[in-house]
Amino acid sequence: MRILAVARMALSELVERRIVAILGVGVAVFIALSAWGFSRIPTFQNRDGTSIGHAAQLLAASSILTFVMFLFLFVYAMGVAFLAASAIATEVESGLALGILSRPILRVEYIGGKWLGVCFAVLLGALPSVTLEFLVVFWTTGYMPPHPLAALASFAVFGMLVATLALALGTRFGALASAIVGTFGFGLEWIAGITERLGVQWGNDGLANVATAIGLALPTDSYWRAAQWAVQPSVITAAFNTRDAYAKAGPLAGALPPTVAMMLLTALWFLAVLILAMRGFAHRDL
């Protein structure tokens, strides 16, 4: 299977270039530092010197975990964008693709193989580190997110969305430009998500609709929200059990799970972006 040969080579590159090792060390440092931080939560005290209590500790742990996850997600999105953008663009720019694509491999298979390799790397980067972070938080504070598997899945989809966009751009543009646009896209969608909720909160339908439309172009924010929902305590989710209540609570408040429609749209988004990239690349002169 030529598609698997390409995917395998893409993964080998990450290992041989020591990207996996460097990321592993980075994640280990990140988790060690956050473990130290979370271990301080049980020592939090009220002004009178008494303990803040178990319930407050759990709430603090969930809030800080959400914040830590957001920071992690931002770095993760940038890393994924640069990794995915270079997968094809660098090989085309350097001339490496000439030797590969003169072989009996369809360009669809080449893109498919690269996409599989990059997605596998994205999952390999996200899933163990997020799982470890959850376990560290649980061991240090006793807090376990109510939907850990959903959080992992949301992270995975988020990473794959950014990776797919950057990789697709890399079939047409240079590596750096594709990575920057991929990162910019994620940032734009995050702002669009906040804007949408501000629009709802202020009763400004026009603002909300524009932000929703922007959000559909790259549904990363929905999966950030989904991850947030999966991590936040069930009591917060219960407080925002309607979209109105959720929206009115403010742009940075708790979240709701993604709808089935959003998941279908995401599947269509992957399909459409990959087909567009494959069609464009199939006609590109190298």
Partner: protein, 304 residues
């Protein structure tokens, strides 16, 4: 089973990028088992032509077939090897990993891949460096690896785009040996090179292209041997020498030597007779067949 169609057959092959015409009208026939030299100045459309033949660039017009199959039929690419002009391989990978990857792309059986890697590495004298990273290779060694990659799976047709550009004289000699060896095994070689002496040494047929079209094609003798000259050392009145020689061809002078271009070998005695008849003393006569390089320069010069 491949048919007895020519290895390469193009008819009016063309490629343009907007208003820029890279290849205007390439009509070419390369027989199976031939070593075919593809010559032309920079910007003549050679690399674009090769890229169209290996499926990297889509033609704007015309037709191209390899062994009777259209170039966009990917099955035919299982029997083709290609060394790009700007060769580049995964620097982080070991030589044998690069070859294994290409073996998988060709569709070789896992057991055959190991055997093939050993064969082609031996062919390019890189066996000792099989486990070394490509990044540690010199440019010449990377070019050898590129040649090994192109020869993986014993293709029926190999495109070499400037295969010796990074090689020293020993490396160039080795490449000539490799070309002769794979030719003896029945492989067709399409050699795109600027090194005309190299082309003259190994090629059966050549084509000179310029401005995206073939100017002349044929055997080396047909292309180079049609223009002849005679080089002489003469003593006598210069005006009388010029007047005597100019009816025979184009007269040029360098140091003590006088050359008349366009003189067939059988007419050389008549040239000498004419000089002696007017009192010119003839010290040295050297009939000369034009080299491929001279012929190339004269053809390309004519179109510029």
């Amino acid at each position: 089973m491949l048919s007895a169609e020519p290895a390469i057959l193009t008819t009016g092959l063309a490629k343009s990028y907007g208003a820029t015409i890279a290849v205007r009208d390439l009509t070419l026939r390369v027989e199976r088992g031939d070593v075919f030299g593809f010559l032309g100045p920079n910007g003549a459309g050679k690399t674009t032509s090769v890229k169209m033949l290996v499926g990297l660039v889509r033609p704007s017009g015309g037709h191209a077939a390899l062994f009777g199959k259209p170039v966009d039929d990917r099955r035919i690419r299982t029997r083709i090897g290609y060394l790009p002009e700007l060769f580049r391989y995964q620097e982080w990978a070991r030589a044998r990993d690069v070859l294994r990857f290409h073996g998988r792309l060709i569709g070789l059986e896992p057991r055959a891949i190991g055997r093939e890697i050993g064969r082609v590495l031996d062919l390019v004298s890189l066996t000792e460096r099989a486990a070394d990273r490509v990044g540690s290779f010199s440019k010449g060694m990377q070019q050898r690896l590129g040649i090994a990659t192109a020869l993986l799976g014993a293709p029926d047709l190999v495109f070499f785009d400037e295969p010796t550009s990074a090689l020293d004289p020993i490396g160039r000699r080795d490449v000539r040996e490799i070309i002769r060896r794979i030719k003896s095994e029945g492989t067709t070689v399409f050699l795109n090179s600027h090194l005309l002496t190299e082309v003259a040494e190994v090629c059966d047929h050549v084509a000179i292209v310029d401005k995206g079209a073939v100017i002349i094609a044929g055997t080396i003798d047909e292309v180079a041997g049609t223009a002849r000259a005679v080089r002489m050392r003469l003593v006598g009145d210069q005006a009388r020498i010029d007047a005597t020689l100019s009816p025979f061809g184009l007269v040029s002078r360098s140091d003590d030597w006088t050359t008349v271009t366009g003189v067939a070998a059988e007419r050389v005695p008549a040239v000498i007779d004419a000089l002696v008849a007017v009192g010119i003393r003839v010290y040295h006569v050297e009939p000369k067949v034009a080299t491929l390089e001279e012929r190339f320069l004269s053809f390309v010069g004519e179109t510029r």
